[in-house]
């Protein structure tokens, strides 16, 4: 710690020394979309003659300190017409900018500039941004526009296959992604077990995925941060946006409130699989819905309030058998305060919840589970001078885990009612980060986060001989659950286990010339929550468990280096990155682990390590009639679980084995071609090495059954996965002259109807008694049609 502190002070001093040279003033303000007054995130403010710049933060705010004089200020944002404004700077000045969307720009001449110039300058690397507009263009199955499916087309991002939930970033597990919707933690981002995601694209403003070089303001997950921001709502006029698709319909309303002081947005989406099933006279029900609401109110020029909520739910029921319901709820109250033209602050109070209910009618069982958290955070951006920018803040999260309440479904049920142990924890974080322009070409970012996790009672915990909940049985060569030797009772708020971690973050960019740069970064991340799941892809019924005596925090270290280049006046970008990542305390499960309704998870797990490395290549075309990208990733992701104190060699004989999401090659090509004002065509192609699986290496006869035998974990692979999707968007010509804007989207998913194996299962055909391998493929060729409107 001391070392880092000293480093900070040294650097701060160093930068102060060249601060008193020249008269400087601060230019600050907010950047808006002219049409809707939505604030814009990540807009580049750039002064070419000084090669100085900054970008807007999550609330559209910017601040830059410049020498006195007249400057040409370029304000540019992808998809918007660049503005060049002359600013006379003789004192600290507040200036807001309003950008016009490119498609709506009346001027035919678009000023060509280095839109992504700052991409090259800032030390931030391994980040991918997607706007709601570009997500909308990507062809998807059944026309259901999907953030999570879109980010899987980026290099370094994969998932376990169609219909599987979540995503994997740089060989990390799906519980290692911090998914934030307006800063609220989303624990399960899937609808219908992974077929769709919970994010309604119409309500989304901006999506940012940090795969590495993660800023110090984020913490709590080992692999990535997916930062999704909802729209604030149009504060100029009432707007209605909607769409009718095959799976769901959407409707979004936004309007000003209290003149132009406020705005709101309300967006709803509901599936109607229910209706189809009902029409088919089927008693089964499958459906989801979600509701986004956001409102903002400008108290004055310096203060703004936001309130946003999300509520989404899935309901699945099968006649006389199951009822399953699960969903997320979040609410967030935020206060933006521009303390000075150099100091921006935001205070957020957030509540989020994930809950599910599983009713098994034929067992007479009702099982409820939920996780609640309350999060308070305060973040400040301090734009000290043209060389230094500080970010600092604190956060605290209170968690309450309720892993399961078992209830009788009917009074006659033979179920004994029971409550699995509730768990409580607090996670706090304090961080500071400094972006430092060392020289004209060299910019560094030094960050440090300190996180502290305290798990506390009241809870009664088992004790085990030698403190080992899992022991190695050397005569059978297996890991077994140890018998508890006793119990310890922890009182209310009494600490059970606590952990503190320093998480240094470091990034450096060196600009080779106007067009290209080299960046490198290091980050350490501590993760205190674990998703307990031993299935290939997590299910909504999996439990999040807090760290404790036997479940240690996951500690990830990631190193990355990259080369970034803009070509042809930013028509093309190239990003090449390589990374190496290790994670300590990655749990794996003993053979035959039972995790459902498990009160003593520690008896089912062993702590291991994982490592991942890879090379990513991204070529993007940003301008012209044809836009899109080609992404290629070459990577490896493995884990190893040694016996450690439990004895024995460990799982899989203590050897490294592939993680279920290791994909050697991953290619995505996505393109958008604007043929004319009426027609736009889109296509994407995906090729991936098949997912690692374990194939049987023999069979034996037991109890009249043929049983496959397995040995090495994940040593085999499913056949490679590939798929081509196309879509066409028809914008009727008469749109131009009316308020009602509409479009039709026609899509075909999996055009050549490849039967991609979602899984291959081995077993006995119970009709013939012979062994067979059965492939399950999910989507064959799937056409879709969607109608979207706006007025």
């Amino acid at each position: 710690m001391n070392y880092y502190l000293r480093l900070f002070f040294l650097l701060t001093l160093f930068s102060y020394t060249n601060f008193f040279g020249q008269n400087k003033h601060t230019l600050s303000g907010t950047v808006y979309d002219k049409n809707s007054n939505e604030t814009l995130i990540g807009v580049t403010i750039y002064i070419p003659e000084l090669n100085a710049g900054t970008d807007t933060n999550e609330y559209g705010f910017y601040s830059i300190t410049l020498p006195e004089g007249t400057h040409k200020v370029q304000v540019s944002y992808l998809g918007f017409t660049t503005q060049v404004t002359e600013v006379v700077l003789s004192k600290n000045t507040t200036k807001d900018f309003k950008l016009i969307e490119e498609s709506e720009s009346l001027e035919e001449v678009v000023i060509e500039t280095n839109i992504e110039k700052l991409n090259i300058r800032t030390p931030q690397m391994s980040v991918n941004k997607l706007s709601a507009a570009s997500i909308k263009k990507i062809p998807v199955v059944l026309g259901e526009v999907d953030v999570i499916k879109s980010i899987q087309l980026l290099p370094g991002v994969t998932n376990a296959g169609e219909g599987a939930s979540g995503f994997n970033v740089r060989g990390g597990a799906e519980d290692q992604n911090l998914i934030l919707l307006d800063e609220a933690i989303i624990y399960n981002a899937s609808h219908l077990f992974g077929f769709f995601s919970v994010f309604n694209n119409d309500a989304i403003k901006d999506v940012k995925l940090y795969k590495g070089g993660i800023p110090a303001k984020f913490g709590g997950r080992a692999s990535s941060v997916l930062d999704i921001r909802q729209k604030d709502g149009n504060n100029k006029e009432f707007k209605l946006t909607g769409g009718i698709g095959l799976i769901s319909s959407r409707l979004t309303a936004e309007a000003p409130l209290f003149g132009d002081k406020g705005s709101f947005l309300i967006a709803g989406r509901a599936s109607y699989a229910n209706i189809f099933l009902a029409l088919a006279n089927n008693e089964n029900r499958v459906g989801f819905y979600d509701l986004n609401f956001k409102t903002s109110y400008k108290l004055n020029d310096k203060n703004r309030l936001f309130f946003s909520t999300y509520f989404g739910n899935d309901d699945v029921s099968f006649e006389n058998s199951f009822f399953n319901s699960y969903g997320n709820f979040s609410a967030n109250l935020r206060w933006n305060n521009i303390i000075s033209d150099k100091l921006f602050s935001n205070l957020s109070a957030i509540y989020s919840r994930y809950n599910y209910d599983l009713q098994l009618e034929f067992v007479g069982l009702d099982w409820l589970s939920r996780i609640d958290n309350y999060n308070l955070k305060y973040d400040l951006d301090y734009y000290l001078n043209d060389k230094l920018k500080f970010d600092f803040g604190v956060s605290g999260i209170y968690y309450k885990f309720n892993p399961g309440e078992i209830r009788k479904l009917t009074p006659e049920s033979s179920i004994n009612e029971d409550v699995l142990d509730q768990k409580f924890a607090v996670e706090t974080g304090i961080y500071t980060s400094l972006e430092h322009k060392i020289s004209k070409n060299l910019t560094a970012m030094y960050g440090l986060r300190y996180s502290y996790f305290n798990r506390f009672g009241s809870q009664i915990l088992n004790t085990y001989a030698n403190n080992l909940p899992v022991v190695y049985n050397s005569s059978f060569g297996i890991y077994e659950r140890a018998e508890p030797t006793g119990q310890v009772s922890y009182g209310n708020k009494e600490s059970i286990a606590s952990f503190g971690n320093f998480e240094p973050r470091f990034a450096l960019s060196y600009q080779l010339n106007e067009k290209s740069s080299i960046k490198t970064s290091y980050n350490r991340m501590a993760q205190y929550l674990h998703l307990i799941s031993n299935t290939t892809s997590a299910t909504p019924l999996d439990i999040w468990a807090p760290s404790g005596e036997f479940l240690k925090p996951q500690i990830a270290d990631q190193y990355a280096i990259g080369y970034f280049r803009n070509l042809k006046n930013n028509t093309y970008n190239i990003e090449i990155e390589s990374y190496y990542k290790t994670v300590k305390n990655r749990v794996d499960y003993i053979n035959g682990a039972e995790l459902i309704a498990q009160n003593t998870i520690e008896r089912e797990i062993l702590n291991g390590n994982s490592r991942a490395y890879g090379l990513e290549f991204l070529l993007r075309k940003n301008k012209g009639d044809l836009t899109g990208w080609i992404a290629y990733t070459l990577s490896k992701s493995e884990q190893r679980t040694l016996g450690g104190r439990a004895g024995g060699p460990g799982l899989n004989n203590g050897d490294w084995y592939n993680t279920p999401f290791d994909r050697t090659h991953d290619v995505s090509v996505t393109g958008n071609y604007k043929y004319n004002d009426k027609w736009t065509f889109n296509a994407n192609f995906v090729f991936q090495t098949g997912r690692p699986v374990t194939y049987p290496n023999g069979q034996f006869q037991y109890n009249g059954l043929s049983i496959p035998t397995y040995s090495t974990r994940n040593a085999d692979r499913l056949p490679s996965y590939n798929r081509l999707d196309i879509s066409a968007t028809l914008t009727p010509r008469n749109n131009k002259n009316r308020k009602w804007q509409s479009e039709w989207v026609f899509g075909i998913y999996n055009l050549y109807s490849r039967r991609n194996a979602a899984s291959i299962s081995f077993g006995v055909n119970n009709q013939t008694g012979a062994n067979e391998a059965e492939r399950t493929s999910i989507f064959g060729i799937t056409p879709s049609i969607t109608y979207n409107f706006k007025f």
Binding site: G161, F193, F476, Y695, I707, S761, N766
Partner: protein, 273 residues
Amino acid sequence: MKKSIYILFITISTIFSSCTDVVDVDVPNGGARLVVEASIDWEKGTPGNEQTIKLSTSTAFFDSNPNIPVTGATVTVTKENDGAQFIFTDQNNGEYLTTNFIPEIGAVYNLNIVYNGETYIASETLVGFTEINSVTQEDGFNEDEFRVRVLFDDPEDEVNYYLGEFIQENLAVPSLASVRDEFVNGNEAFVLHFDEKNVPGTEIDIKVFGISEEFYFYIEQLIQQSGTQGGGGPFQTTPAQLKGNCVNVNDPSEEVLGYFRLSQFARTNYTIQ
């Protein structure tokens, strides 16, 4: 309960036009391993003196003749509390038979097999079973399919594990289901049997066994990995090596398949209405 959750996920997948087909796959071959199917099953109300132990070797996964009997082995079981020894004589077809076995609930038995100069041992306790109270049927997941529920009393003062075995003519292999008294301790517990072949008129031979905790975890994993549940899919657990309780005394690392279990069971039959 697990099985029900799997079915839930499988059903979800099928909503989205998922399809399955049989494919050719190259699988590794781990070589022949000794398989011990030493199931000492004592039907309630019988002396239980006749018992069979089967020895075989494993084969390649797609081998069309998976029955490779092991002959020439010496098989004995010793009852630990009184030292009684039961010699299982080689029937030269992979079966080893005894007619003087003495079953006793709670007694520990030791298995000893000498084969090819190697000695294999296992030790297990005989687990009792209460009684089948009744068998009922209810609507299943599909139309014309019925779920069969076998009810029995669960003793309150201990943790109990059960195995249900269902044999019917329209299924080529027995259907197995394991349960424990996790949520129903001390109450009337049940084991469920569901299969799309459970149509009216189907006659089912039903056995419910009391089993040990270790065997429960073994058979639970075995049932999951047998694949007859139509497993697979993103929500399947990663299959893993299935280790039983038989060990080569000289080479504990040798993979010996199968299990030495001793169970009391009750038997009934039921015809779906």
